[in-house]
């Protein structure tokens, strides 16, 4: 038995972002995986202390270009609680809509990348085509496809017109109809063969390693911060999606059901959308410590914000979902998977490296 070392990354066609896995391999079997990160570390937490708190919204948005809505929501909610203010109801609904749109586009993006990793490129192309419609909807609301800058401290920057809400309904109908194709793929024999039983993470391991988001929910842990009822989620009806597959297929299934759930949540928001102001203005000093947690597409997004009464923040700590999910991924990889399955397993937790390293 020869033990050899394979380095996977940092520049690898499967990952859009650089991460390195050093794999110890016996024949085709991976016995140990060691992640190596730091290729996209910028030092954003320090920049948070140097910038004006209002400008930090744009910085928070650029921690991750895939999920700007949860990042800015977590940041502004933290600053709001330091200031002792609250966003008006309409702003909360708009935030919820943006967060759910973000989740839809992120999950479709993930489904496409999984197809690419499996070797099903047509599926990658088609799913990203559905995603473009979601991006169009986001652009019609905010003016930008990717970084939308909708959140402001005390509310949102832009209101939504009735026309935009009606347009959003149409987009939701389109996305819902396109989900059938994703379901088709889930029923396929080859896809099942590549994902079922691959990358096992039991409930016990998920708890021990601190998995969050769909990775935890696919291992039977009912953990969804939206149930705590922040923003408009308290008014909406939904149940966290939990499955017990504990494998890559389970994580696929969770995300697919969450797509349906998000569409439903957006429809509920459109129906219940209250009227009124969208911004609470305040010049209160930022004093004390606050923890702000938001359910991002990849799981729990954690912001710790400390203010000292001055015009700048003293400390902003960001713990992103992928950072919490790296150790569970190492557990999945080190169970003797095949080298060919490494890309599927890593992608099944939906890595976002630029979040992780900030």
């Amino acid at each position: 038995m020869v033990k050899s070392t394979i380095t996977f990354g940092p520049q690898h066609p499967v990952f859009p972002e650089p991460i390195q896995f050093i794999l110890k391999v016996v024949d085709e079997k991976v016995v140990l995986a060691e992640p190596q990160i730091g290729y996209v570390h910028r030092g954003i937490e320090k920049a948070f202390e140097l910038n004006d708190p209002k400008d930090n919204i744009f910085l928070a948005e650029r921690i991750c270009g895939i999920c700007p809505a949860p990042h800015t929501t977590a940041y502004v909610r933290g600053v709001e609680s330091l200031m002792g203010i609250e966003a008006p109801p309409r702003a909360k609904y708009i935030r919820t809509i943006m967060n759910e749109l973000n989740r839809i586009h992120s999950h479709i993006l993930w489904a496409g990348l999984l197809g690419d990793a499996i070797g099903f490129e047509s599926y990658f192309m088609q799913t990203w085509n559905y995603r473009e419609k979601v991006l169009d909807a986001i652009e019609k609301i905010s003016g930008h496809r990717v970084t939308y800058a909708m959140n402001a401290i005390g509310g949102v920057r832009r209101d939504m017109t009735n026309e935009q809400l009606r347009g959003l309904e149409k987009t939701m109908d389109y996305v819902e109809s396109s989900l059938e194709n994703i379901e088709d793929v889930m029923k396929d024999y080859t896809i099942k063969k590549r994902t079922q039983g691959i990358g096992i993470l039991t409930e016990e391991e998920a708890r021990r390693d601190g998995a969050v988001g769909p990775t935890a929910r696919a291992s039977g842990i009912s953990q969804d911060l939206r149930t705590s009822g922040y923003d408009a989620y308290g008014d909406l009806k939904f149940e966290p999606v939990v499955v017990n597959n504990c494998d890559s297929y389970g994580r696929f299934a969770v995300r697919w059901q969450e797509l349906k759930q998000s569409i439903d949540l957006i429809r509920q928001c459109i129906v219940k959308m209250p009227s009124g102001e969208i911004l609470t203005k305040s010049n209160n000093p930022m004093n004390g410590e606050a923890i702000s947690r938001v359910e991002a597409p990849r799981g729990e997004l954690f912001y710790y914000i400390k203010g000292n009464g001055s015009k700048k923040l003293e400390r902003v700590k960001v713990r992103t979902p992928t950072f919490a999910n790296i150790i569970p991924t190492v557990t999945m990889l080190s169970k003797g998977c095949q080298v060919a399955d490494v890309s599927v397993i890593v992608l099944s937790m939906d890595p976002c490296i630029s979040c992780t390293e900030r």
Binding site: G38, H41, G43, Q223, I291, F323, A324, E357
Partner: protein, 117 residues
């Protein structure tokens, strides 16, 4: 903060063990540079509420690692060692920063970038 317990290097492991027995998930740890001393806040979550352990220590003091109790603390502690240059037993730097990166850049005394270039 609510549900906060002050700990020191001697009592940290014992308090963490209580969290583990209560089946709390270790969310993350935040390191703070408070001028004359450092603080690490360990955040735990059980789905309904969060609990925090606040560890205060002097610069240069070696604090114990909770990796043996929570495996997921591994990267979190490495990051703190990397960015703040504090000492946690058995944890080495080099997770995020390259060999040419500034040393312990998150300390308040570290020069801002404009002063470097």
């Amino acid at each position: 903060m609510q549900n906060e317990i002050q700990v020191n290097s001697a009592t940290l492991i014992g308090e963490t063990l209580k969290m583990l027995e209560a089946k709390m998930r270790f969310a993350t740890a935040t390191c703070l540079d408070i001028g004359d001393h450092f603080e690490i806040i360990y955040h735990f979550d059980n789905g309904n509420e969060m609990k925090h352990l606040r560890l205060s220590f002097k610069d240069g003091e070696e604090v114990p690692s909770i990796r043996a109790l929570y495996a997921c603390a591994r990267f979190i502690e490495s990051e703190i060692v990397d960015l703040f240059g504090v000492k946690i037993s058995g944890v080495s730097a080099g997770l995020l920063l390259g060999s040419d990166s500034p040393v312990a850049p998150m300390r308040k005394s570290a020069p801002a970038k404009s002063e470097v270039n």
